[in-house]
Amino acid sequence: MITFWVLAPLMVIAALGLLFARKAVHAALCLAVVMISLAMLYAAQDATFLFAVQIIVYTGAIMMLFLFVLMLVGVESREAVVEAIKGQRIAAAVVGLAFGATATLAIGQTVSAAVVGLDDANQYGNIHGLAELLFSDYVVAFQFTAALMIVAVLGAMVLAHREILVKPKTQYERAEERIKAFGDAGSHPGVGATPGVYARHNAVDMPALLPDGTPLEESVSAVIRNRQQDLPTRGRHDVEATLSQINDEDLGGLAAPQLGASDGSGEQEDA
């Protein structure tokens, strides 16, 4: 009984940790503590086979599966703090307390028969006794679990499987497409312009400048272009400031290109 009184408070605290943990990883660790303590309680109650299975299956396999999924889904993902239903947490706590109190009282009143103990049932060993039951009285249920396992494996495979709907293009096909686009629309088949490198900026989010001073938006990766709506103006603003400085200093009559809303055709006259 000493095992029980040492482990029981630990288990309750760990189970409460499951309720209050902010991060899912901490909750998983709390659950692992509960499961290992449960295994020890099984051992204390003459269930040696279940003691081993609890550690191998639950803490070994199932908790690892939980941790794998946590890694896939994002360890740092936080929970929403907003309550979807108003007062749900308090109501749940009240209902849970009421349920726990009722069940504990009911069982305290009904469980009064003397403890027989498993010495008789375990006389040939716990595993022997379990096997005898499993392959005589429960053999049909045992065979159904085999079917259940197969269905579960197939279901997991179907759910986790991602179908590739379109065949990915090979390098040869993509090169062919580029040359075809060059022949049809005259688009440049080679490597595009790289993003800008300036005195104050050296980053992939700065567009390159065309000879007339207008930023080339295609030089920035499409991902960044879609994410930062103000990107070209930002780059243009910076370059504009630099160019106006050059204009102010008037470097030996060298006219700097003007930046503006023009589409680049009128720049030649200005220069």
């Binding site: 659950l31 979807a84 307390l97 504990t104 403890v115 027989v116 679990t145």
Partner: protein, 97 residues
Amino acid sequence: MTAYITLSMILFSIGAVGVLVRRNAIIVFMCVELMLNSTNLAFVSFARQHGNLDGQTAAFFVMVVAAAEVVIGLAIIVSIYRARRSTNVDEANLLKA
């Protein structure tokens, strides 16, 4: 004996409250596992009280079913996460009218 069953009931209640309160689908799932484990403890305790191994067999079957359930449940969570980028149970309301 009563102490074991009481502990089992306490763990079951904590698991039930967790299912109701938590919003992260994975933690909700862990709470379900806690409830299954607590019933296993009750099975094992009753097996010792009655002096036969039927309770332990039942606990064994619960473990088998729990393992299958975890595999399917986590696969569902992963596929929902792929589609919606979230494991919040409140956001999975596509079937709502």
